[in-house]
């Protein structure tokens, strides 16, 4: 899944900014003299010969080239094209300054798309979180058919978005399987235009997203639950805690880091949602049905309209919005999970220490 990859990058990148020389600033475990670490660091620097350099070049080189050529360069190019009115033929020549950005930010269709994105962000957390948590707690107990159930729950996540989109759109058509089923069950009154009715479409989308991605949340939570020692629950039980008290006061807090990381993945994925909407509603109907996202807006007004300059500007705006959300989340929610490892601690040892060490030795 693309989201996971992008996420991983931003976790690496974003904190890289405040302390790109992060290694030096990492707080050593207490008791260990800082000098030792510093010396070893220096030894490594001093000892780097041509062999080590070649090794670095061979190991990092290809990945770096691919990353620069296919991630960084397109980002820079998009930022560049965003200042042009360009229909994609030849090189862009018509410089329009910030016009594209003004148009985007004042376009009601874009506002709607952003609104849908944030609705999806919040509803994904609200719908998937509790469901996944309950199912994960359930599946973490010893029961029959445990692995079978785990596999079944994870299946929707593994199926390609395209298959899911086509399948659901066929079943949910006005003449589709769901309405047929409702009629056969004598529930004809519940029939609806699941996809085309603007009042329903976004909820239909939420249902499909939940079905598709809840398995991912469950697998993450299960992995988190495996890491919580049984002894804690046992000890609490001996102290007289009920099953629910154990879950509430022991399991849930210890699962915190997992939940926060899952929420982060879910938020970024929701902000970049594209494929399901694109396949089920297509580029023309998604805004009408009220399911357009920033990404579908970008493709239909960029590539679909042959306005590559405008599309690039939308890409930049989408990037900035996602980045802002990611940074805010990291700053306020993920801080205690990543503290020390990725960011400065309030009580971080002064960097002067290590410099002094350098100087002394």
């Amino acid at each position: 899944m693309a989201t996971v990859r992008e996420m991983a990058q931003s976790t690496d990148n974003a904190p890289g900014m405040p302390g790109s020389d992060g290694g030096v600033q990492t707080q050593p475990p207490s008791g260990q003299p800082p000098a030792g670490r510093s010396t070893s660091g220096r030894r490594r620097r001093r000892g780097i010969g041509w062999a080590a350099r070649a090794e670095l070049l061979i190991l990092i080189g290809p990945a770096l080239v691919v990353f620069l050529a296919f991630v960084i360069l397109p980002v820079i190019l998009a930022a560049y094209y965003g200042f042009f009115s360009w229909n994609g033929f030849g090189t862009p020549t018509k410089f329009v300054g910030l016009r594209n950005y003004f148009t985007i930010l004042t376009d009601p269709a874009f506002h709607e798309a952003v609104g849908h994105n944030f609705f999806i962000v919040i509803m994904s957390l609200v719908l998937q979180g509790p469901v996944a948590l309950v199912l994960a707690l359930l599946l973490n107990r010893k029961m029959r058919f445990q692995s079978l159930i785990r596999v079944l729950i994870f299946v929707p996540y593994v199926i390609s978005e395209v298959v899911v989109g086509i399948g659901w759109s066929l079943m949910l058509q006005s003449e589709g399987a769901l309405n047929g089923l409702l009629e056969k069950l004598g529930l004809g009154a519940l029939q609806a235009d699941w996809l085309a009715d603007p009042a329903l479409a976004i909820w239909t989308l939420m249902a499909i997203i939940t079905w598709k991605y809840v398995g991912f949340a469950i697998i993450l939570f299960l992995a988190g639950l495996q890491g919580i020692p049984d002894e804690l629950a046992e000890a609490a039980a001996i102290d007289g805690a009920s099953y629910w008290q154990v879950q509430r006061y022991i399991v849930l807090p210890l699962l915190g880091p997992t939940i926060r990381i899952w929420a982060f993945l879910s938020i970024i994925g929701s902000l970049q949602l594209f494929d399901l909407v694109w396949i089920i509603w297509g580029q023309y109907v998604s805004s009408t049905a009220g399911t357009s996202t920033m990404a579908t807006y970008m493709v239909s007004n960029g590539r679909g309209a042959g306005s590559y300059g405008y599309g690039s500007a939308v890409a930049v705006v989408l990037f900035l919005i996602s980045l802002a959300v990611a940074l805010v989340y990291q700053r306020f929610v993920l801080r205690r999970d990543t503290a020390g490892a990725l960011t400065h601690r309030p009580t971080a040892e002064p960097t002067t220490d290590s410099t002094t060490d350098e100087g002394k030795s």
Partner: protein
Amino acid sequence: MLLNEENGNHMKATKFLLGSAVVAVGALALSGCSGSGSGDSGDGQVTLTFWQNSTTGDGKAYWEDTIAAFEKENPNVKIEMQSIQNEEMDGKLQTSLNSGEGPDIFMARGGGKLADVVAAGQVMDITDGLTDATKSALKSSLSAFEIDGKNYGVPTAVLPSGIFYASDLFTEAGVDGTPATIDELDDVTAKLKAAGIAPIAVGAKDAWPAAHWYYNFALRACSKEALDKAAESRSFDDKCWLTAGENLEDFLKTKPFNEGFLTTTAQQGAGSSAGLIANHKAAMELMGAWDPGVIADLTPDKKPLPDLAWFPFPEVPGGQGEPGAMMGGVDGFSCWVNAPKECVDFLNFIAEKDNQEAYATAFKTVPASSEAQSAVTDPILKNILDAYSKAPYVVVWLDTLFGQNIGNALNVAVVDMFAGKGTPQGIVDAVNNAAAKS
């Protein structure tokens, strides 16, 4: 940008060989300027790459046969054909042209889309390369590929639109004859609904099938001058554009379309609008002249729908459009700016009478060459051709005419109106604001 249908005296195309020799001289002079022919190798052997959109069946076979015939007449030329899925054509062409390795011959549909490629300096001006035979045979449709008085392509087919219907369903609902005015169409839809038949299928998920309704209402509401002017200015200044939207809004109030049309596609599968007609789930569809072939693919036995028939878009009283005017598309081919001169020879070759007749048969369509139109035998196509010949003028699809950027905005605005979210003014605004997003 209007295709004027005039019945002038047409020169016979039998003297093609002589004609093409003249072309060769003219084109030599042309290619002398551009210099960098793509396929010229030293020994006079020329290879042309050729992109078209028939991936299967008779259409693909037609191109294979035609290429073989052309190569036989021109032993020094070799044409490498690539069949490209229609929906991928625009994107692939764009990438290819940007990398400076455009296909020598590629499919084009005239209008603003072609104008954008021409403006980027990627299409060969073939005005001097066309033979007199080609010019006279294609006279009426050639203008679709004309930009600022220069010619940038050769049409192969004209695809006028109108309403296809299943006549058995009309009979079942007690409808006699076909509606000539929009009020009569309202009566027909009412009768069909009363008989429990979905009156009109429309694939609004693909946007353009819905937008074609607006185009046709605009064709009826707007004068030829207003259409010409909008094509030039690429904005909807005339009041008739608003009128067209209001007429469409009134028509939509009668709820004539199939259930769930917003998520209906045009051509994919039995649930598409063409599929609904093919399976008698809906009675009518507004579509271009390619529709009989599409519907035939979607009938249960994959054979042409026996009761399929056609009538032109009804007249709308009070409009400024001339009665009988038609909306339609043109399929054709253009040469890449750096293509070898033999490209023009090939375009002249496909405009030849025999090849146009074979084209009409293979694609089950109306050929662009007026000389080859006698090859049309299918009753539906004859009906279409008849209306086409009588039409005072034929206008290219508005989205093609206005180019991708405005066309896209227009289509989305029309879909909004279909969904009950848009207004006639909204359509006009969408078009007039689209330029800011270009």
